[in-house]
Amino acid sequence: MFMRSSSKRRLAIFGLLSAAGLLAQDAPLDSRNAFKIKLPDDSPVSFVSATMGESRATARGAALLLDLHMTLELRNISPNRIHGVVLRVVSQEVAAGGKASVAVPSLNIKPGDAFPVRIDLQLIRPTQATSGGPLVEVNLDGVLFQDLSFYGQDLLKSRRLLTFWETEAQRDRDHFKRVLAQSGSKGLQQEVLASLARQADQPQLDVRVIRRKTVSAAAFAPERTENFAFLKFPDSPVEPLDGSAEISGGEAQSPRIQVRNRSGQTVKYVEMAWLVSDASGRQFMAASLPASDAELYLPPGKTARLLQDTELLFSRRGEPVSIQKMTGFVSQVEFADGKLWVPTRQNLENAALLNVLAPSPEEQRLTDLYRRKGLTALVEELKKF
């Protein structure tokens, strides 16, 4: 009797799982008509193929969920190595007030080689909305080459982003290569394991950012104005002077920081990192605070104010984080000639920031490579640069 009941249960579970899998496919979509890929005539990458995953539309009450999956294969048809690409993802009928992109930094693509970019997205729109033409258009926003030259429309400031990631990548590759040269493969292994341990322990906040159409006093009632404390790096070309934000429990609004250019060169972009501490004193990376002025011009010795009029809601595991203290430091500076400054590894280590800040994309890639393929693969990868 027991045997019979057990086999019946097993079969029933198998049957139910199969049925659930079938029911999840509400209505299939033709991905080829849903996506449109547009590359400029003089693009340094050419379109090789697009592999469409299973895409479907699911009705949820008055809303329609459209799941779209695609892997693009692009080829480097330029004479230079490609180190990063940004694709702009635009949905005219859905993203009124919003846009998106998929960036792939830390590449090392030789002329003539092809590389994949995966795009998985979901659109939510009212059921009654009608669609004319493709649901999503994918365009090339920018390509960064090995020599840091750039191609693209740069509508999403991809040049600066890709250059920033590449600068960090060079810094972190050099760090791992130095460890390998000084301490051998065992030393490199211990450094990578330390990085993986930091990544596993790093607390992440859930942050929700609201950019309101109208300013409403009722929407946010600040309890207090909290001042920033600053970490200052000796070699930073820009120094923070003072700053504050309006705080109410786990919400912050209108962060603003005044900075001074103490270098001998004109600065055209500054970004601050913003850390918050909760009631237990635990520190979290909350957000970055970029210069609000797209045309920032900061000559040597002059000051400027970084100001954003957004609302940020911080939570962790579903509970609001009570903000007790705020700390800021300069995380990125771009000079008028396009060169970038980022904190050195030494800066970050000295300020005990490695335990709070996320690793760079390159450190993330290299440690993941070690995790998946082992030490030999990592050493071989470092030799390629």
Binding site: K8, L11, A12, L17, A19, A20, L23, A24, A62, V89, S91, V94, A95, A96, G97, G98, K99, A100, A103, V104, S106, P116, V117, R118, D120, L121, Q122, L123, I124, R125, P126, Q189, Q190, L193, Q204, V207, R208, V209, I210, R211, K213, T214, S216, A286, A287, S288, L289, P290, T310, G318, A358, P359, P361, Q364, R365, D368, R371, R372, G374, L375
Partner: protein, 190 residues
């Protein structure tokens, strides 16, 4: 009397047998109370199947690759820590047993993560503005009842690094398990 197998009865309940097998099974069920009860039970279970619509898809191959990578990492970390120690000879601590135990714990944890992860938040309608936020498996920009979400399907939540800028942009960064490249999804509130 020889009863049809459980599989035959399940298929019969769903009307999925060929006509000959269906006729033979139907004839047996008509005269056998025990098998009739089985068929009724299978039919009832089919009725509750729609309620399981929300069971998440599980990428088993990716989970297996992740587990292999984590086992490798665990063993490498262990080797580093006890570089000078003599290895234990007791069969209880053989590497195969350790790997199996570790794999079991990881499988249990991953199942928990997959099944218990909170659902996405999509309540933008009450907010007069554009909202960017993280969801269960992606990052999203929304405005009223419309939203655009870039997803990091098949990547463990703890392997995704999310960051925000106060201007209204959000990023989700991860190593794509299919391409091996770092991929950074970005959504922006304008």
């Amino acid at each position: 009397m020889k009863h049809p197998t459980q599989e035959m009865l399940a298929l019969h309940a769903g009307g999925d047998l060929g006509w000959m097998a269906a006729w033979r099974t139907g004839r047996h069920v008509a005269h056998c109370e025990q098998c009739r009860d089985e068929v009724t039970a299978f039919s009832e279970m089919r009725d509750v199947a729609p309620d399981l619509n929300e069971i998440p898809e599980v990428a088993w191959n990716r989970l297996a690759a992740e587990m292999n990578a984590n086992i490798r990492l665990g063993l490498a970390a262990g080797e580093c820590v006890r570089a000078d120690e003599k290895p234990l000879r007791h069969p209880l601590f053989s590497s195969a047993r350790t790997a199996v135990a570790l794999a079991s714990v990881l499988a249990l944890m991953m199942t928990g993560i997959v099944l218990e992860h909170p659902g996405p938040r999509q309540n933008f309608a009450a907010i007069d503005g554009v909202v960017v936020q993280s969801t269960k498996d992606g990052i999203q920009v929304g405005n009223g009842v419309r939203a655009l979400q870039l997803m990091h399907t098949g990547v463990r939540d703890q392997d995704v690094i999310r960051s925000v800028d106060a201007q209204g942009a959000m990023r989700a960064r991860y190593v794509d398990p299919e391409t091996g490249y770092v991929t950074i999804n970005n959504v922006y509130a304008e």
